[in-house]
């Protein structure tokens, strides 16, 4: 969990960027896909309703011309005296009957040849004479037809042409639409026969079959709501009064189309009424199916999904690439603060990241150079300062020493005066050399003895100085004036209360370090106050206790330096830690890196 959060925090830029891109890409794609589908849907609906209205009116025209030819045929049959006579007469002789049958057939042939389409024509007399123009289409007998409901309806409505749907046994299960009309004597309104103009449903379908397609269905529905004809055969004969109601509504309100749910599906309904046939022509468009044919939604969605996928992958890779280099940059920079300023960061990753890294590295280099220079300057300055201090041999010291010598000479202590002068000479020689120069432990010890000798000569020997030098250390080098200031300090400050005591000097090698200890048995002090003690007049040179530590660290690094422990009334112990150094090197030890790090850490 913690790791996970860490990963999130480390990748937050990437995650933010990627999420934003992801969301925008998906949003754009979804919106575009959706609006494309919607637009094509709308466009389709618009054009479809226009073309289908036109188609519908064309179909309507076909039906109207059919109904016109039915009307025309009906009139011709009604007005045909021969037919009327044949249907009324009861024939006595075979000759009469034969000629009557022949003539009526001829008359019907004439009338029938005018009527187009695949419609049949049947004339039935009340005397059960039946004339069937297309026997093969509907082999019906006179009695069957006379007893059938369509004849009964016709008898009940003698004045009008009725279109009736017939199906079932009587038609051998071939559905038909039959136009019927009673044939009446004008004068008496006596019905002498019936005219049937049956058209098989499959022939009726020819009127509109060419305009239909999958999902674009046409059906004819009669006044009772029964589907009379359709290119969808399973609908034929069904009662769909809801559909009829919608069709009526569409027609009455002059709507272009309506959306309906019939046959368990959503359809777009266009309709036209065929008042002459008492039928409604209905065009049902299965939106889904037609749209699917027209607009391949799946494909569009698939393509956009694919585009999204590709874009996301590309965005993922690119943003990862960009943020990764940035992230690496950030990590390197923050690590740098923790560990090492000197290490330049990797110049890798994207163009921008590389530029940043280059600029950063350049800046770092500049900074380092600057710092180095600064450090150098400071060191030089410090060195000059120390040198100045070193060279600045206290005139009081010389004056006092020389005064002491004068008195020795005056007192005739020639030997002592000589010794004192002899001690002073190497002391001065040593002090006036380069501050960087090192001397061997042996020389330093000699210097200290000289200094002690001068002081003892001046102040008497109430303070005894002993030195214990490990012989294997004699050849090691150490900077000048490192131990002397502490001896001086002990001489002048450690013995103000106590008048007698010892100063011990111990030099030994410990590990890879040279340890010099100056131990006095004087008054001791509080370590904190040591810094503020400033002996001035009696000092041998400008270099005091205070800057020894500084000098050592300047020369050798933080591992070395001066450590003071003191106990009031018991004495003080000074421990100077130095590296073991065999030669008289001028460039003393400290690497550039170390300097730098010290600087940056500080």
């Amino acid at each position: 969990m913690k790791n996970f959060l860490k990963i999130i925090r480390h990748n937050s830029l990437f995650l933010k960027m990627f999420l934003i891109m992801l969301v925008s890409i998906v949003a754009v794609s979804v919106l575009i896909t959706f609006s494309t589908i919607r637009m094509s849907h709308n466009l389709f609906m618009e054009t479809f309703s226009i073309t289908n209205s036109k188609v519908l009116s064309q179909i309507k025209q076909e039906f109207e011309s059919f109904s016109y030819s039915v009307v025309f045929t009906t009139m011709s049959v009604e007005n045909n005296g021969t037919i009327k006579r044949s249907l009324i007469q009861d024939h006595v002789t075979s000759t009469d009957e034969s000629s009557s049958v022949y003539t009526i057939s001829q008359q019907m042939e004439n009338i029938y040849s005018d009527s187009p389409n695949e419609a049949n024509m049947i004339v039935l007399g009340e005397n059960k004479r039946l004339f069937n123009m297309k026997y093969a289409h509907w082999p019906v007998t006179a009695q069957e037809l006379l007893d059938h409901r369509i004849t009964q309806y016709t008898r009940a409505n003698p004045g009008t042409i009725m279109y009736q749907y017939v199906d079932g046994k009587i038609t051998n299960d071939v559905p038909m639409l039959v136009a019927t009309k009673a044939l009446m004597e004008r004068s008496t309104d006596n019905i002498y026969g019936y005219l049937y103009i049956p058209i098989r449903e499959r022939d009726l379908r020819e009127f509109y079959g060419g305009y239909t397609s999958k999902g674009n269905d046409v059906l004819l529905i009669d006044g009772s709501g029964q589907v009379v004809s359709s290119n969808k055969q399973e609908w034929i004969g069904q009662y769909e009064s809801d559909l009829l109601a919608v069709a009526k509504d569409t027609e009455e309100n002059n709507l272009e189309y309506q959306e309906v749910n019939v046959f368990d599906k959503d359809y777009l309904l266009l309709s036209a009424s065929l008042p002459a046939l008492d039928l409604y022509l209905i065009n049902l468009v299965d939106q889904e199916m037609v749209l699917d044919n027209l607009v391949d939604t799946k494909e569009i969605v698939f393509i956009s999904a694919l585009i999204v996928l590709i874009a996301v992958v590309v965005v993922f890779l690119i943003s990862r690439r960009i943020t990764n280099s940035l992230r690496r940059l950030v990590r390197q920079i923050s690590d740098m603060a923790k560990y090492d300023f000197g290490k330049p960061i990797d110049e890798s990753g994207g163009y921008e990241a590389r530029k940043i890294a280059i600029a950063f590295n350049y800046m770092l280099n500049e900074l380092q150079e600057h710092v180095d220079e600064l450090l150098q300057t400071q060191r030089r300055q410090r060195k000059a300062e120390l040198e100045a201090l070193q060279h600045q041999i206290n005139p009081h010291f010389l004056y006092n020493t020389l005064t002491s010598v004068k008195f020795l000479v005056k007192e005739g202590k020639k030997e002592a005066a000589f010794d004192t002068i002899d001690a002073l000479i190497p002391l001065l020689q040593n002090a006036l050399g380069n501050v960087d120069e090192t001397i061997t432990v042996e020389q330093e010890v000699a210097n200290i003895h000289n200094y002690v000798q001068i002081n003892q000569m001046r102040y008497g020997d109430r303070i005894k100085v002993n030195s214990l030098i490990s012989p294997d250390c004699l050849h090691y080098h150490l900077p000048k004036l490192v131990i002397q200031p502490f001896i001086e300090n002990a001489f002048f400050h450690a013995f103000t209360k106590k008048k007698y005591g010892f100063i011990q000097i111990l030099i030994a090698q410990r590990g890879d370090k040279l340890i010099c200890e100056v131990i006095d048995t004087g008054d001791g002090m509080e370590v904190d106050k040591m810094q503020s003690k400033k002996g001035k007049r009696q000092l041998f040179s400008g270099i005091g206790v205070r800057n020894v530590h500084e000098r050592i660290q300047l020369l050798y690094g933080p591992a070395y330096g001066v450590e003071i422990t003191s106990e009031v009334g018991k004495g003080t112990k000074i421990k100077i830690t130095l590296p073991l150094s065999d030669e008289k090197t001028k460039d003393i030890t400290i690497s550039k890196n170390n300097t730098k790090r010290r600087f940056l850490d500080g």
Binding site: H91, V101, S105, Y135, T141, E299, L306
Partner: protein, 429 residues
């Protein structure tokens, strides 16, 4: 290098997207080349209970493997489709095998001589009833494989005839004049009409004239032969005599024709043998029917045998013709056993003469009082005079039907036929 590989991956992505886009744009193209040799042989026929059933039977009995697709079409549709298809010359959508009525066959053979495939190499025409060969061949080449016979018989009600005092012997080998006399007796004694006729269909006239070896056209098949056609004259006279004898029940379609005898209204049905099943359909009249030879015209050369209807198979000259011809030849063209099955299973009487020796042909028909109907018919079949129907049978008949009415209504026979001749010549010129 890394930069370059990134570039490449972009190109790849672009290429992939391009491919997808192109794939989306392209659509399936299905090409339909017309195969040289079709797997499937198609056949057109019109009667599921008769000729289509016969084809199915042939398919079953055929020993080789064949994919035969039998398509039912109304006879009028077949005529129309053949005319449209053959006249366009493309032969597209045409069947391999088609059934054509004999009286129409010549019009097709003459109009489209190259459209049909001669079967001489596959069958022996002499195996078939002689009268079938003229309509099914042209210029000495046999194109049709004769299928069913329309051999006629006089179906009659034994009970009515008996009531009027007639037996089978009295009806055998009679002339039409004798038939009319009997008819009058029957009408007088039983009150039943003798015959039912459709005034628009002169089928009976055709039966009469073929029994005398005559037709509406001369032997060349084209010269109209109505005026001075002795047989036709006699036929007309007989027709009018029937009308005047007042024993004719008029009908105007098939169901009325069937109803006329099924209801027991008429005593005889002179017709092709194919009417048998329709008569048998009325079970209540079982045992009350028999079949005599058809009456003949009272003139020299006339026989008591004629033909009404009948059809033959033709192979169209399109890829698959060899397969189709072979199929027909091995079933309808040479298999005696097949014809036995055909008679038993389908009730179709073929015109393949060797088949009449088979057992099935000797079967007695219970409905017709144990008469060996098939045997009788195949005997009569061989006697049918051969005529060339020519091309215009139905066109001429329309003219004749009108003149018949005129003749019935008092026009003189000579004038009526002369007028018909003139009209026909003018129309068919």
């Amino acid at each position: 290098m890394k930069y370059f590989s990134v570039r490449k991956s972009w190109i790849l992505v672009f290429a992939i997207m391009t491919i997808f886009t192109l794939a989306a744009c392209s659509s399936d193209e299905t090409g339909g080349g017309s195969g040289e040799e079709p797997d499937e042989i198609t056949a057109w026929a019109w009667d599921p209970n008769f000729n289509i059933a016969a084809l199915e039977l042939a398919k079953e009995s055929y020993e080789k493997d064949i994919k035969l697709k039998i398509i039912e079409n109304a006879q009028d549709d077949i005529v129309q489709k053949l005319n449209t298809g053959l006249s366009s010359g493309t032969m597209k959508g045409m069947p391999n095998i088609v059934l054509i009525e004999d009286q129409r066959a010549q019009s097709f053979l003459k109009a489209y001589p190259d459209a049909f495939y001669p079967l001489d190499e596959y069958i022996n025409p002499d195996d078939f009833a002689a009268y079938k060969l003229a309509p099914t061949s042209l210029d000495g080449k046999q194109y049709g494989l004769p299928f069913d016979t329309g051999v006629t018989g006089l179906f009659f009600r034994t009970d009515y005839l008996k009531e009027a005092g007639y037996t089978m012997e009295d009806l055998s080998n009679i002339t039409w004049e004798k038939y009319i006399e009997i008819g009058k007796d029957v009408k007088a004694k039983t009150g039943k009409d003798m015959i039912s006729l459709d005034p628009n269909d002169l089928g009976l006239i055709r039966v009469m004239i073929q029994s005398a070896g005559s037709w509406y056209v001369k032997e060349d098949g084209t010269t109209v032969h109505l005026k001075d056609n002795e047989a036709l004259k006699k036929a007309f006279q007989n027709y009018k005599a029937m009308m005047e004898a007042d024993f004719v029940k008029a009908n105007s379609d098939w169901s009325q024709f069937i109803a006329a005898f099924n209801s027991g209204d008429v005593a005889t049905v002179p017709s092709g043998n194919w009417i048998g099943p329709s008569i048998e359909a009325e079970a209540s009249q079982k045992g009350k029917w028999a079949v005599a030879q058809i009456p003949r015209l009272d003139m020299e050369g006339a026989v008591n045998a004629s033909n009404q209807g009948g059809s033959s198979f033709y192979v169209l000259n399109i890829p698959g013709k060899e397969k189709a011809a072979e199929f027909l030849a091995e079933t309808f063209g040479s298999s005696k056993q097949f014809y036995q099955d055909l008679v038993l299973d389908v009730g179709a009487l073929g015109t393949y003469k060797p088949a009449s020796e088979g057992e099935a042909y000797q079967a007695e028909n219970e409905y017709f009082g144990g008469q060996k109907l098939i045997s009788d018919f195949s005997k009569w079949m061989e006697e049918i005079p051969s005529v060339n129907y020519g091309m215009h049978t139905y066109a001429i008949e329309d003219i004749l039907a009108a003149e018949m009415q005129n003749y019935l209504n008092g026009k003189s026979l000579e004038d009526a036929l002369a007028d018909a001749q003139a009209q026909a010549e003018a129309q068919l010129k």
